[in-house]
Symmetry: C2
Subunit: 449 residues, 2 copies
């Protein structure tokens, strides 16, 4: 049980800061899985990351890069000179090249392509004919393929050639003479079979198939739910393009959920913890700018009531409470609907049910918190009218926000805007404007007369 | 390729509303994987969900329940009568029972336990000795176990007994006479071996091992990175408790990331889209209440400056802009740090680097947006002093918020508070109070003299 040490990133990062530990660190990293190395490298500032990465075995260098987030590995690439980049791509397989495609300088990519043989280049061309989010692009060629007419002994011979560190290879992929996928042969099914039998007797053709044009998320769901360790990816003629393994499916599921989480704050999933300050500042600036528009819209709404505010300052003091309660109620509904959309659980059949439910929940909470806030306001300002104004405003804003929290993401999904990214900005604009308008509007009506 | 139909939840939900389609629907569901049935059931309002679920084959009923989110399945349980509950638990294995433990009424649980045989009860006791978030509780007994002294022919016999729908069973788990785990035997390694050989020659003892006391998240990471389809879970004496498969690891990773996403809005990962209105309202009320405290703290800060606001209404109009820019900057930093903490990439060694970076990014964006807002304010209000006040306030609030965005989650993790859940509330309190205080404070100083 050589490597049964839980990953200790803290220790690895500490060692990376200490030159005396360099050898020790390299030894320790060589025991880890490439995914673990990638996670540890991401946890280091760029300087330590590059020197640690350079100390890795070339195979680990490439493997770790393919598992790293785009920005994090890009910050390694930027520190490499021409010769280092060239020698790096010399060791790359086609699937590594596809993964790293966008970050390699054009001339390095061309150099890498020029070194591919005929069959590898065909693979590259086939993969690149699919979009960036399609399964066809990422179909993995690390698989065992056998002809439909083969015998059990051929299958056994193939399995016995497996490298020791091969992952998720408990089945062979069967093709017919034209390269069309015809099913799987499981190692367990071959045990105890006479070697002269045709494999046709044990072909499993019940396994689902992933189509090259499917979105990667959908393909990953199919693999992860199938119970198989890898499924065939086929083109529109049924020809075997490669496989999608459970390992990759898990990685995709992870990335996709992580990006949903990051998008809620306007961040990219590929963001590097240790990106250079100027680079990060530029990326964040955009999101602040978008939100500034929202903030000015809210301020503009308040501006409509300058005269009222000049007379009743208490309204200025209380107005953030109305906006904030609407914001919270809205974002709870929004988040629930975004998850439902991601799981494809929001269907037209239930739109009205969901809306009714959201409005019911918001109505109850509006009444409860409207009342609480009204009472607290009365205690604070000793003014019955303000207390009625804020109570009503809170109820209305919570209900409007819940309505928006259902409608906005469903509409965005329909017109292909990512609700995790854009939903909260639009929702905040609505809850702020509604909150200020209703509260100050009611205040003007009831308090100025 | 019988079941190669991508899951069409929309169609299934539509059918569930139409009694004429009942038979068709049952047929279609029986073709799906239990995970897919669970997702589809969650997408139905409770009435349709219960009637659809009742139409399933008893095995699928149990399997689907174990994959459903707690609230969603709880809403099925609530509709079942005593007899239905009893007959349901009669078909349950120990691992189903462990999964559903918390939602079953005590008398039904007792009834289920009374039907277990000696060895199953021992399994249940062992599992329940571990905490709810520990691997030991969920170790799966659906595995093939062989004695270390067995021969190749015994191993082959075991593999040949595998049920057709068995998942992730490409290896046997080897134990010694005392029940201690000793390694794996892969089906592929047995191919072509003489049947009288001892299996000891092909035991893989390089595979990592999951300890029963490890957190489920950590165990799942180990399995998912190992490249194995299932790993042994052992107790503190090295005895085999069960296995953790890649399928369960993937499910755990999914749940854990989903809960992180839901927590940012104060929601629970187990939340049912179609929970009863009253139930949901009660759950959401708490979060609104917590946020109300924040809102009142902000209002209280504004209240300190009533006199200033009465004189310069423009400040009331502009103050949400300052708070909002701080809020956005802070939540971007917070989100990035929360992801880093979840991946265990935030180590003490780099705290200062992260803080410096966050302050650098905030400084640059503070300067940029402070200037932009100052210019826009000048255009709007034609007042140099207000324009300087808001520019400075924005810079200060963005920098303070970024600082808080780094410090708060790291501190919360340290004292075992979930930063995804509590981080945004505390951060909002800080950004609002700082924003209002700095802006109105500067305004009082510079505008009232």
């Amino acid at each position: 049980m050589a490597e049964n040490q839980p990953l200790d990133i803290e220790e690895i990062v500490r060692d990376s800061f200490n030159e005396d530990e360099a050898e020790h660190l390299t030894g320790k990293l060589s025991q880890l899985e490439p995914e673990e190395i990638a996670i540890a490298l991401e946890a280091m500032p760029v300087e330590q990351r590059v020197s640690t990465w350079l100390s890795l075995h070339p195979d680990d260098q490439i493997a770790a890069l393919t598992y790293m987030r785009v920005d994090a590995r890009d910050n390694i690439f930027k520190q490499l000179d021409e010769a280092q980049l060239r020698s790096l791509v010399e060791g790359m397989e086609v699937d590594d090249l596809i993964e790293l495609l966008d970050e390699l300088p054009q001339r390095i990519y061309d150099y890498a392509c020029s070194r591919l043989d005929e069959s590898q280049r065909r693979w590259l061309d086939t993969a690149l004919a699919y979009d960036e989010d399609q399964c066809g692009r990422y179909a993995d060629h690390d698989m065992l393929i056998i002809n439909k007419n083969a015998k059990v002994r051929d299958a056994i011979r193939l399995f016995r050639q497996l490298a020791e560190d091969a992952e998720y290879h408990d089945a062979l992929f069967v093709v017919d003479r034209t390269g069309r996928y015809a099913g799987l042969v499981h190692a367990t099914q071959l045990l105890g079979l006479a070697s002269h039998l045709p494999i046709e007797t044990v072909i499993d053709n019940e396994a689902p198939v992933v189509e090259g044009e499917m979105e990667l998320d959908q393909g990953s769901d199919i693999v992860s739910r199938s119970g198989y360790t890898a499924l065939a990816v086929v083109d529109d003629e049924g020809k075997l393009l490669g496989r999608l393994s459970i390992g990759e499916a898990l990685e995709n599921v992870r990335r996709s959920l992580e990006s949903q989480f990051m998008h809620t704050a306007g961040l990219d999933e590929e963001e590097d913890l240790f990106a250079p300050v100027f680079y990060s500042a530029r990326r964040r600036a955009l999101w602040l700018g978008v939100n500034l528009i929202t903030a000015f819209l809210a301020a503009n709404t308040i501006g409509l009531f300058e005269a009222t505010l000049a007379e009743i300052v208490a309204l200025a003091v209380l107005m953030p409470i109305v906006a904030s309660m609407g914001g919270i109620a809205g974002s709870q509904t929004l988040t629930l609907i975004i998850r439902g959309l991601a799981l494809e659980q929001i269907t037209p059949q239930t739109h009205m049910t969901l809306l009714r439910k959201a409005l019911g929940v918001a109505g109850l909470n509006g009444l409860l918190w409207g009342l609480v806030i009204a009472v607290l306001t009365y205690v604070w300002f000793d003014n019955w009218v303000i207390c009625i104004v804020i109570g009503l405003a809170v109820i209305i804003n919570i209900v409007v926000s819940a309505f928006a929290g259902v409608i906005i993401p469903i509409w965005m999904k329909k017109v292909n805007i990512d609700p995790a990214l854009a939903g909260s900005v639009v929702l905040t604009a609505i809850t702020d404007m509604t909150g200020f308008f209703v509260f100050l509007g009611l205040g003007s009506l009831l308090l100025l007369t």
